[in-house]
């Protein structure tokens, strides 16, 4: 009962209040919905702390059992504790924290992301092959949008930006609208299944029916 019935009942009550608050202009309902969303923001804050504990648990176990690449786990835990220590003792606006953020985290994040500039063209060179009419249309549309997006395309032919705009605004918009509406309907039906207790996947595999 504690692991299944009560969570399903809570999901029903909370879900119903939130959904009804969008459709009915009843003050009590609005206040209850506002309060629930506030709780959600607070719970999300706790989730960050839970993430830290989870990381520590997973990587402590890897270090203790000396499993594959356990040295990287030592490094992860060490860096996490150092940044946590500086953030808690000196504050996130301190010089030490800012130095670490700008010169370690930002630099590493940007570098990792920049590697896409090398890996993506190499992958495109090998995989982006025209083998059917569909892949040909896909490649042509991609090439036209790329040329319309940058100055060199406009320098080659002044109509490239217009062609790009047409592709983005007409075929792309039509297809994306279809996908968005379909996904929204799917999301609504999944939400309804959760509220009604028909979908219990969020309770974990042992409690799901």
């Amino acid at each position: 009962m504690w692991k299944t019935d009560i969570p399903v009942m809570l999901a029903f009550i909370v879900g119903t209040i939130i959904v009804l608050s969008y459709f009915l202009n009843i003050l009590a309902l609005q206040v209850a919905a506002d309060q629930l969303v506030t709780w959600l923001v607070i719970i999300a804050g706790f989730a960050l702390g839970l993430g830290v504990i989870n990381l520590l648990q997973v990587h402590s176990k890897k270090i203790a059992t000396k499993s594959s690449k356990w040295g990287l786990s030592v490094w992860l835990v060490l860096v996490m504790l150092i940044s946590l220590g500086i953030g808690v003792t000196q504050g996130t606006q301190s010089k030490a924290y800012s130095f670490m953020f700008k010169n370690v985290y930002t630099a590493l994040g940007a570098t990792t992301f920049a590697l896409h500039a090398f890996f993506l063209p190499a992958a495109a060179y090998r995989a982006f092959r025209v083998t059917s009419l569909e892949s040909g249309v896909f490649l042509l549309a991609g090439a036209l949008v790329m040329l319309g997006q940058v100055g060199i395309g406009a320098a080659m032919w002044s109509k490239f930006p217009l062609v790009k705009s047409w592709i983005m605004n007409v075929p792309n918009s039509s297809a994306m609208r279809g996908i968005t509406i379909t996904a929204a309907l799917g999301l609504a039906s999944t939400g309804l299944r959760i509220i009604l207790g028909l979908d219990r996947g969020y309770l974990g595999s042992s409690n799901a029916e």
Binding site: D34, V37, Y105, Y125, G151, A155, M176
Partner: protein, 274 residues
């Protein structure tokens, strides 16, 4: 001839890396001054900001971080400089814990040039967790969510926040992100409050955002580095966007040539094997 195509087909990845590296690096060392032709999405975004009377308040929500900064930081700087040069006011709101240092840097870096006052012309709100539920809360109970700024100073005493009891009291919303942020903004701020909204996004996200622009829900889109170059060009405030466009231009052309070569070699080898 077939041997050449076979070599092309099996080209070492390292050669591709060098070609791409050079195509990006050379224009940065020696700019080509390629022409810019701003897209209608960028023009609309620029005009929405440019047409606002001095003193108007912009609510700028962002999830910028190190991985998104290559495309979003030039957009953020261009909007900040344009708004400050016109006497507009900005309420910065981070949705990611890594966004705040970027906002602090921007506000500090341009303060001397535009002589704006923190708390009167610009304010940075603190990070709050929650992703979509945070945006829901901003839409429903903005002032209940924030009572102090990033520096833990009381918002009540700040001139920029006077008269704002609800998010609907701001004049324009700008969302800068690389993920689902635009969707949350349209669901919980733009649609219920009917606020004019501009989206700044990474180039790869543009295809997802454009339908909302075509429908009139977004008044403009700043798309990737190209969008920031357009914005800088229109505002006559050249920055990282304009200077990075030559590199992006040449990189795109080299990529297209490589794809073309890959297709030609693949086609020849397929025909040979039949």
């Amino acid at each position: 001839m077939a041997g050449l195509f076979r070599k092309l087909d099996k080209m070492d990845d390292r050669i591709l890396y060098v070609l791409i590296g050079l195509s990006v690096l050379l224009p940065l060392i020696k700019p080509m001054q390629l022409p810019l032709s701003p897209s209608s999405m960028s023009v609309d975004a620029f005009e929405a900001v440019d047409s606002m009377p001095a003193g108007s308040r912009i609510f700028l929500i962002t999830e910028i971080g190190p991985t998104l900064s290559a495309e979003l930081l030039p957009q953020l700087v261009a909007i900040h400089r344009h708004a400050m040069s016109k006497g507009l006011r900005i309420i910065y709101t981070p949705t990611s814990p890594v966004s705040s240092p970027f906002l602090v840097d921007i506000v500090d870096d341009w303060q001397q040039e535009y002589s704006y006052e923190y708390g009167k012309d610009v304010v940075i709100l603190p990070f709050r967790a929650g992703d979509e539920s945070l945006v829901v809360q901003i839409g429903q109970n903005f002032r209940g969510l924030y009572d102090e700024d990033y520096y833990e100073d009381d918002l009540e005493g700040m001139e920029i926040m006077q008269g704002i009891s609800d998010i609907g009291d701001v004049d324009l919303v700008i969302s800068l992100g690389g993920g689902e942020l635009y969707r949350w903004v349209v669901r919980h701020i733009q649609a219920p409050k009917k606020l004019p909204t501009i989206i700044g996004c990474t180039a790869v996200m543009t295809t997802f955002v454009v339908p909302f622009y075509s429908s009139g829900q977004f008044v403009g889109i700043i798309s990737g580095l190209g969008g920031s170059a357009d914005y800088e060009f229109l505002a006559n405030l050249p920055g990282a966007g304009v200077s990075g466009m030559d590199a992006q231009s040449l990189g795109h052309v080299v990529l297209l040539i490589l794809i073309l070569l890959g297709n030609i070699s693949g086609l020849v080898l397929r025909r040979e094997s039949v």
